[in-house]
Amino acid sequence: MTINTEMPVHVAAITKVADSVKRFRLERVDGGVMPVFSGGAHVVVAMQDGKLLRHNPYSLMSRPGDTSAFEISVLRVESSRGGSHFLHDKISVGDTLTVSQPINLFPFDHRGRKHLFFAGGIGITPFIAMMAQMAQEGRNFELHYAMRTRSHGAYWQELAERYGPSRVKIYCDVENLFIPVDEILARQPLGTHMYVCGPAGMIDAVLGKGKALGWPRQNLHFERFLAPPTGKPFEAVLQRSGKTITVGEHQSMLEAIEAAGVDAPYLCRGGACGQCETNIVSCTGELLHNDIYLEPADKASGKKIMICVSRLKGETITLDI
């Protein structure tokens, strides 16, 4: 027996907060309270887009203790496979969606003496909730927030006003203002934890500088928004379910499996948490491992795959599912 804890919600408000960024306020359809969550948590939003059931993860950016609603902020991604377009273009106030319970794969370390945040663009969202929680708990934090232009950046004015210039620093590409990561990382007190969320290049650069400066691995935290990459269609045989499905060009294996009515476990849908690890029975073709969860040896073995983001370049893969 599994517990279904998904919550039907209606869209109570939609607010444009920056170029291509909208905030959605989601209240429970049954009038009940939302669960409390911890800063850094996300929810998976299920949306019925015609015949397609989409599942996209979004960071919660409302106040973690506010049980009246959840709020998410969504960037309309041009190269998106459709989830952000659907929310931006087709969803109106009053529409119904379904959200999961909060899941935190980007928690802060409660032992930290100081918490240092690096945000790039829409990567600001988990930090908004973290800062709200930390401010309430009296923790020491500092945000460095980079954006293309001030009109592309969401919430920077509110955050700067709320927490003051010593705790919130803004950097704009077009103004030739870039985060001096080296300088900042070099002057932190012992016991500082660093968190980065933003484009892949930014995450890699910040983590690389932290490592080069001798930061302990346990003090460097990151969250990647990995969308499932697209690719040529292929066939997947679901051995235990006795089904054969086609994974489309813009579909992940997990989405194709769900569309076939087969339940597969997942949490992050971004190749990070490990929940959807699946055994491969056989395959013809090359495995394209796009996750950051499996060890290199697991990837090389050809026996395991993370079905939320990884694909096959070839004909057929047979899965133990």
């Binding site: 911890s38 319970q101 935190n104 409660h110």
Partner: protein, 347 residues
């Protein structure tokens, strides 16, 4: 439920006993006629017959009031049984909220919790407590939040922090334990505190259990059962107090098995906590005397077979070596060799 609370003791004269109702609701830990370690976790949802220990999210039974008196005595004698590292304060408040809410949900006639913003009002009728306090403000409670609520909750708890893909035992209240010590294990990780368990490491149980727990979800608690045996109805079988209970194991004789020997079952439930992202382990201990257990014919047959065929490593690890043959012999009178039905519940 119309609970009448027993007046009984878990030390000295050992007047603990189970009523027939308590026997039938006992969480019997064997689903088949043999036992081996497994990742035996399942969703913690109501199950079993009316009144069973599995019906409520946090169980409260006829032993509640007497168990709380015993806990108070243990904590007075040894304050190190309740410890929390400084970074666990958010998890302490999470724990207080969860245990208040779940006890009130399962037993509304015994407990009530009213929230008005951060102004909370808790009523515990069995213990005669009426407490108004401010959630998040420790100065408004007589103890720290974990300590406060654990003086009003049956079972032990460990609060486990999650960092670096590991779980860390960073807080707990442990007074009804099967021979392990919070003071010793505090700050250890999941692999370290399970270090002494035989056989299970070799079959990969802990790697799989850890992976499973790291992804434990809010709102989807899980449970498992664990077991050992205890001589006399002593809740506090701690390493710290070994001289008090260790020698009892030499006192088992054929004529006293029924009253003296107890099956000790732990109903463990695991909960993801919302503010701290920590995990709450609730380890609730249930005792049942051999003479009470054999009132359920299925359990008598099955426990005889489990105990008779237990692997030697487990016999040693659980400390049963000395008296097991005597108990197996006693139980054999209640095993007619008939087949038993699957599952843990009485027929």
């Amino acid at each position: 439920m119309n609970t009448v609370f027993n007046t009984e003791s878990f030390r000295d004269d050992f007047t603990f006993r189970n009523s027939p109702v308590a026997v039938r609701r006992f969480p019997f830990p064997f689903h088949e006629d043999k036992y081996m370690y497994a990742v035996n976790m399942e969703p913690h949802v109501p199950a079993g017959p009316e009144g069973h220990a599995y019906r409520a999210p946090i169980d409260v039974d006829e032993h509640y009031v007497s168990e709380m008196k015993d806990r108070e005595m243990v904590l007075r004698e040894d304050p190190l049984r309740a410890q929390a590292l400084p970074h666990m304060m958010a998890a302490q408040w999470d724990t207080l909220e969860l245990l208040m809410e779940k006890q009130a949900e399962g037993f509304p006639e015994l407990f009530s919790l009213t929230k008005n913003g951060d102004q909370w009002h808790w009523i515990n009728r069995p213990l005669g407590i009426d407490q108004k306090f401010i959630f998040g403000d420790t100065s408004t409670l007589p103890y720290e939040p974990m300590d406060y609520i654990m003086r009003q909750t049956q079972g032990d708890i460990c609060i486990v922090d999650q960092r670096d893909s590991q779980l860390w035992m960073d807080a707990g209240v442990v007074t009804t334990q099967a021979d392990w010590s919070l003071d010793f294990d505090l700050g250890m990780n999941f692999m370290e505190w399970h270090g002494p368990v035989p056989l299970a490491h070799q079959i990969g149980v802990f790697e799989r259990a850890l992976k499973f727990l790291l992804n434990l979800q809010q709102g989807k608690p899980v449970r498992r059962l664990n077991w050992t045996m205890t001589i006399n109805s002593r809740l506090d079988t701690s390493p710290e107090n070994y001289p008090k209970w260790g020698p009892d194991r030499a006192s088992v004789a054929p004529e006293n098995v029924g009253n003296k020997v107890h099956l000790r079952c732990e109903l463990q439930s695991l909960w993801r906590l919302p503010r701290s992202n920590a995990i709450l382990f609730v380890i609730r201990c249930y005792l049942i005397k051999m003479e009470e257990l054999v009132a359920i014919p299925k359990w008598a047959r099955r426990f005889h077979r489990v105990l008779r065929d237990l692997p030697p490593e487990l016999i040693d690890y659980k400390g049963l070596t000395r008296y097991r043959p005597t108990v197996v012999e006693w139980l054999s009178k209640y095993d007619d060799g008939k087949a038993t039905s699957p599952g843990i519940f009485p027929d």
